[in-house]
């Protein structure tokens, strides 16, 4: 094994950002929130497009629901998470994350469960439509239910993670 070199580096970010002047954090966050809000409309349209594609392909009546396309579904769920700041009170991001868990674990275990997938898509649609109006406990229960579906129908992610780590 080679010897590790350990050294300090002073970056320009540290020198300039903390060197005085600039905006206060409060003002910067306020301006950034306003600027990010301008992206909400496009993000909502993209989320709707992704959910419709998931429903038509992998929903209860989906045309390709028996086709195991792990990478495509994982990528679509990831895209929903990426842009779901426009629905930050809906828990849609957590439902999409649960969907990523399901697909990732299914790929590791080479399992394909169309029912479990369809349930996840239904819950994402429900949270997109009315997640913001639901109570926090109700939303949390829905997401918790998705994790239970994955554990029951596909397997235990923690066991797979420790197997992969060893």
């Amino acid at each position: 094994m080679s010897e590790a070199k350990v050294f300090k580096v002073k970056t320009r970010l540290a020198t300039v950002a903390l060197g005085g002047g600039g905006l206060s954090v409060g003002e910067a966050v306020k301006r950034a929130e306003a600027a990010v809000e301008l992206t909400y409309e496009a993000s909502l349209a993209e989320i709707d497009r992704l959910l419709s594609a998931l429903e038509s392909g992998y929903g209860m009546e989906g045309a390709t629901r028996e086709t195991a396309d792990y990478d495509r579904l994982y990528a679509m769920a990831s895209q929903i998470i990426d842009i779901s700041i426009c629905l930050r009170d809906s828990q849609l991001d957590n439902a999409a994350r649960a969907f990523c868990d399901l697909i990732d674990l299914s790929a590791e275990l080479e399992v394909w469960d169309p029912e479990a997938i369809a349930v996840h898509i239904q819950v994402m649609r429900l949270l997109r439509q009315s997640g913001a109006e639901m109570g926090a406990a109700e939303r949390a229960k829905l997401v918790q239910g998705l994790h239970q579906v994955t554990r029951k129908r596909v397997g235990d992610a923690e066991k797979v993670a420790s197997r992969l780590a060893s």
Partner: protein, 202 residues
């Protein structure tokens, strides 16, 4: 050690003259991060949709901070960060890097930890959290570690010493097991006495 406190509204950050690079294959996500940076007052924002475009840019421009998506189709963000740390020229090789991810695949957890980024931030990104990570990176005084298998900031955030049974690499790492405490714990009265106001003569 690095300061990892919450930012407060009165803290100041001057990002105006710095070059930020954002790499994300999702155009909407690229737009969200770009808009947040504009709000912080950043003027020079480079955006790339692929790791390849980012490499080309890094080879010809000085970047002060890179924000990169972990999941990208042709080459993922972790691989791009490894390339920066190993093969990009100076000073870009040491640039602060924040990785964004909505989900980490089970098979990539170790790979993500060892890629050499400063911080990871969970998507969806909120402007407050992203600014806080930039603030942390600016204040980060962790040493850089370079060896055959890893190049990047020291992954140990806390000085807890190496795991039991392993000799540390730092000269000041404690050797061997520390064993049981040799002195009794402080009593509650002794602890209280530290906080008791006392008159002093100046």
């Amino acid at each position: 050690m690095s300061e990892r406190r919450r930012i407060v509204p009165g803290d100041k950050l001057n990002l105006e003259r710095l070059n930020f690079l954002v790499v994300d294959d999702n155009i909407q996500s690229l737009d969200i991060i770009g808009q947040a940076l504009i709000g912080y007052g950043v003027r020079n924002i480079f955006k790339c949709e692929t790791a390849k475009d980012a490499r080309d840019l890094i080879e010809r421009t000085t970047v002060d901070c890179m924000i990169v998506d972990a999941q990208m189709p042709d080459e993922d963000g972790y691989s791009l960060v490894r390339w920066v740390r190993k093969d990009a020229g100076e000073p870009n090789r040491f640039m602060p890097i924040i990785i964004c991810t909505g989900h980490t695949r089970l098979s990539q957890i170790m790979y993500a930890r060892d890629c050499g980024a400063h911080f990871m931030v969970a998507k969806p990104i909120t402007p407050k959290v992203l600014l806080e990570r930039i603030f942390w990176v600016a204040k980060d005084d962790r040493a850089f570690v370079e060896c055959d298998t890893y190049v990047g900031p020291d992954r140990r955030f806390k000085r807890l010493g190496p795991p039991y049974g392993v000799d540390g690499r730092r000269a000041d790492d404690p050797k061997g097991a520390l064993g049981a405490a040799k002195e009794p714990n402080l009593s509650q009265d002794e602890i209280d006495s530290f906080m008791k106001p006392a008159k002093v003569t100046l």
